[in-house]
């Protein structure tokens, strides 16, 4: 009796406070994003503390989508993200499939060959010199190919593949499947969740890539949207504003455009994102 009364009295207060804490936490996360969103629709220059647009208008977004200097980086971002993700998935799945062939001569050597790159790296400058030597600087192939070999993602993929029952491989071989046929008839269809998780990880890192562009791309015609946004915010490259938009409106609109693709996709794909992390760290 005593216990129930106690819990009845205590729990609602705790739940209320806990709920309030999370409302505040969520507001702290959302207000900066909200502020940018509001300012991207506001055609006035002085912003201050307003959390609602004073003079609503779409001119900021119009500027992003009608000026070639702004939409071209956006196209480059899309193309390199899609190309890079496919490339990354191809390398990760093929590498991972070979690494689960336990009886294959040289398998351990290949595994160590890849794992060693996680322990030691040549560093920023030797990598830059190699990229320059391979004519991959100021070349979009460079920023697509370099991140495609991601050993961490490859190991994650291998962990997924290890969960496929060995008997499936055996029966496929008995049925006369070549390794390539087994790969795309058995392994890939069974790994859709892994392909989605790891594909998303690749896609996010390609879309958000700034460091590789900063290091290997100096020609502003080859900038992706992150680079373009950065140079606009730093003031080295004033945005072209059209249709009554101020520079600030365009900057804010550019930020929103930059985060929009994943903001739209993310609520639907949240589980795949989360799965990737958990396979990587918890199970490993």
């Amino acid at each position: 009796m005593k216990a129930t009364r106690k819990s009845k009295k205590k729990f609602p207060v705790f739940n209320l406070v806990n709920g309030l804490i999370f409302i505040i936490v969520c507001l702290i996360i959302l207000i900066p994003i909200w502020k940018v969103l509001v300012d991207s629709f506001d055609l006035r220059t002085a912003y201050g503390m307003k959390l609602w647009p004073e003079e609503f208008g779409l001119a900021g977004y119009l500027s992003v989508f009608t000026n070639k200097t702004l939409y071209q980086p956006l196209i480059i971002s899309f193309v390199t993200t899609i190309g890079g993700t496919l490339m990354g998935l191809l390398l990760s799945t093929m590498g991972a499939y070979v690494l689960i062939q336990w009886e294959m001569p040289g398998r351990n050597f290949f595994a160590n060959f890849l794992l060693f790159t996680m322990i030691f790296s040549g560093g920023m400058i030797p990598t830059y010199l190699v990229m320059r030597g391979l004519h991959l600087t100021n070349n979009l192939w460079g920023v697509v190919l370099l991140p495609a070999i991601n050993v961490y993602n490859l190991v994650l993929m291998r962990n997924f593949f290890e969960g496929i029952p060995a008997s499936l491989f055996e029966s496929a071989t008995l049925d006369g499947c070549t390794p390539m046929q087994t790969f795309y008839k058995i392994v890939l269809p069974l790994s859709k969740a892994a392909l989605a998780s790891i594909g998303l990880m690749f896609a996010v890192s390609y879309w958000n890539d700034y460091t590789n562009y900063k290091l290997y791309i100096t020609n502003s015609d080859l900038y992706n949207f992150q680079m373009k946004l950065r140079s606009m915010i730093m003031g080295s490259d004033l945005p072209q504003a059209t249709g009554g938009a101020t520079e600030n409106t365009v900057k804010n609109a550019a930020i929103i455009v930059c985060i929009l693709p994943f903001m739209i996709l993310y609520p639907f794909l949240q589980d795949y994102f989360v799965k990737g992390v958990n396979i990587g760290a918890v199970k490993e």
């Binding site: 709920g19 702290i28 503390m49 322990i119 030691f120 040549g122 010199l129 370099l146 070999i149 900057k251």
Partner: protein, 321 residues
């Protein structure tokens, strides 16, 4: 363990079929591995071979000239290098501890939310900033923390009377405030995502444990203290070890938030290498910046191996590489 077993299996197979036959059997797989091999060779092993420039003076236009350990002597004599080294450790380690602590606390409270819908919504929102790039994050905060009358934070501080007009704080442009801003922005961006791994652990705790504790008369705090916290210990150690191995990688987050005025508190090894090479105003000596990079890689390598050893020790033999 697994490898040993398979090695043993391999020796048995040697007796069964000659090596040539086994290689022939797997010929398709070698072909499949070829692209991966070439990529790793090109983008990981060629740069590794490039560390030889650390022992040369290499100005780009002329051929590298062997100078022995001169670059390292120069490096250890540079106050800027030591500042960068110290800053790297300080910024990384403090950020790691702060964000892990914050993620644990948030997870504990998140776990107590009863309404599943509200919990899901809160999770969706706090994970959000993780998917924004550092460039976007820096852009958002550059606008919000701006010292001119447009900045949200300064305007707020003036309106509530903490600051007087004209005393606006340039958070990202003063040595006094930069680190504080860096930690807060990092927390804003990554704390939510940091809870993912803890939430996974918490969802694995059997509800029976809580029920049994309730029957024994344990309250909410006691259950948190004696069931939830101990379950998290292992995960906390894992997260700390995994991230400790990466503390020297600090680059992009600092690079997009720093500026010339705050170099003293914000310059880290990677940004130091970058500025020495691409932004020094003189002809870059690739040899010197390679040497700094090599020092970073070697210390990083020791850290990874140490963390791997530590991980095997505390996580029942599971390493991190």
């Amino acid at each position: 363990m697994k490898n040993n077993k398979n090695n043993a299996g391999g020796t048995v197979a040697v007796r069964k079929a000659p090596l040539k036959a086994r290689i022939y059997k797997y010929r398709g797989f070698y072909l499949m591995f070829l692209p991966v091999f070439v990529f790793a060779l090109m983008f990981h092993y060629l740069p590794m071979a490039g560390v030889r420039y650390a022992f040369t003076e290499y100005k780009g236009i002329t051929d590298p000239v062997f100078v022995g350990l001169d670059n390292f002597k120069k490096m250890f004599g540079m106050p800027n290098f030591w500042t960068a080294f110290k800053n790297t450790l300080e910024l990384s380690v403090i950020r790691l501890l702060m964000s892990t602590l914050a993620a644990v606390i948030i997870s504990l409270f998140l776990n107590e939310i009863i309404s599943i819908k509200f919990k899901k919504l809160a999770q969706t929102i706090i994970y959000l900033p993780h998917f924004m790039s550092w460039v976007v994050t820096a852009s958002v905060f550059a606008l919000i923390l701006s010292p001119t009358n447009e900045g949200l934070v300064n305007t707020f501080l003036i309106n509530v009377g903490i600051l007087n007009a004209g005393e606006e704080i340039y958070f990202l442009g003063s040595n006094q405030w930069w680190r504080f801003a860096f930690y807060i922005i990092s927390l804003w961006k990554e704390t939510g995502w940091g809870t993912v791994i803890f939430m996974a652990t918490l969802s694995g705790i059997s509800p029976d444990l809580y029920e049994a504790a309730s029957i024994d008369g344990a309250g909410r705090w006691q259950k948190m203290r004696y069931i939830t916290m101990p379950a998290l210990n292992n995960t906390i150690i894992t997260v700390l070890i995994l991230n400790l191995a990466k503390v020297l990688n600090l680059f992009e987050s600092v690079f997009v938030l720093q500026n010339d005025a705050t170099m003293e508190v914000s310059n880290v090894l990677q940004t130091y290498v970058y500025y020495q090479t691409f932004n020094s105003g003189a002809i870059p000596n690739y040899g010197y910046s390679t040497a700094v990079g090599l020092f970073r890689s070697l210390v990083g390598c020791v850290l990874v191996l140490f963390c791997n050893w530590l991980s095997k020790k505390v996580r029942e033999g599971r390493g991190i590489v």
